[in-house]
Subunit: 197 residues, 2 copies
């Protein structure tokens, strides 16, 4: 096998969940099926590395100093929603239910790997909050073991501070029938049931 | 979302089995977790596109005109093994059971997609064989629906020619116990059973 090929396989394996087999399939696409797309990909990575940095406020990826949301004076700067990943912001924006600002942790704490706090942007979060006008913090981490652990770390961090802290509700997804909802979710939905009268 | 980010996501989706979700996870790795690796990947793709072409004989990826195997005068030029992908050559070489040459189809014929012959390097194969000293052709396509269809196409192509044609045997994998082998393989192993006396 050629040297440039071996290096390509090696370089592809930095991608998440890409092992030898997948890297070989990818190399086949890049070198055989779609060489134009491959050239565009190489260029897109180079451009993105040059142009994309972290927003100075919310830590999301952006091209300038501030992302569009943080730069928008219409957003309510007193409420900060903390999410794990950039894609979470897009999902939340699509739901049109939060007009405050965001902070992106760019990761999660893994309870099965000694709760390594370096995997989330804690320092940046503390710097973001110091001297800010934030009054309410909404912890919007996932309802998974990692999301729960991350939420726990954040709740501990803010314990003796003046912020109002909340976390996303757990319960039945909208439009779901009982028989298709898993037992854990059902139990949570019963436990957190809302009083109607 | 920034423009360079959108372009990166778009460019990543040319990779096999990469949709929006996976592309976002990959972009996170490239832009956040491993920026050095990302720069190396961009460079590796660029280098590979520049340096890697198809071997003029076997159609495998290589950097010069001929790959190491085709350029090796020790190999038996009268026997040609036809495989689907470059990785198949590596697997076959590791088994040390073929000292002839190879030809890589760089794909397979898909019976569920109208048997499009453009997905395999048929023209290059015909050019490779014309005036060559090949006497025996071993069809080493996979024992899948696609591999079977590809083998069928090849067998049809060579039907009225002088080559001795064979295909890899089907049967029990070595070291496997009967209870763990699927029914189709077992049936084939019985059907193709070898007479011992």
């Amino acid at each position: 096998m050629s040297n440039a090929y071996t290096q390509l396989i090696h370089a592809l394996k930095i991608l998440p969940n890409v092992g030898n087999k997948t890297a070989q399939r990818m190399a086949h696409t890049l070198l055989h099926t779609n060489r134009d797309g491959a050239a565009q990909l190489s260029q897109a990575i180079e451009n993105a590395l040059k142009q994309i940095h972290n927003c100075q406020l919310c830590h999301d990826f952006c091209e300038g100093e501030l992302c569009a949301i943080c730069a928008n004076p219409q957003r309510d700067a007193s409420r900060l929603m903390i999410v794990q990943m950039p894609a979470d912001i897009a999902a939340m924006e699509a739901a049109r239910c939060h007009d405050g600002l965001y902070f992106v942790l760019m990761g999660q704490v893994n309870p099965s790997q000694e709760m390594d706090l370096r995997s989330i942007a804690l320092e940046q979060l503390i710097a973001r909050l110091s001297g800010s006008s934030v009054e309410e913090i909404i912890i919007a981490t996932a309802h998974t073991a990692e999301g729960d652990a991350t939420a726990y770390i954040l709740a501990e961090l803010f314990k003796n501070q003046h912020y109002k802290i909340s976390r996303l509700a757990r319960g039945m997804p909208l439009g779901s029938e009982l028989e298709y909802v898993d037992a854990g979710t059902l139990a949570q939905a019963v436990y957190d049931r809302n009083l109607l009268k």
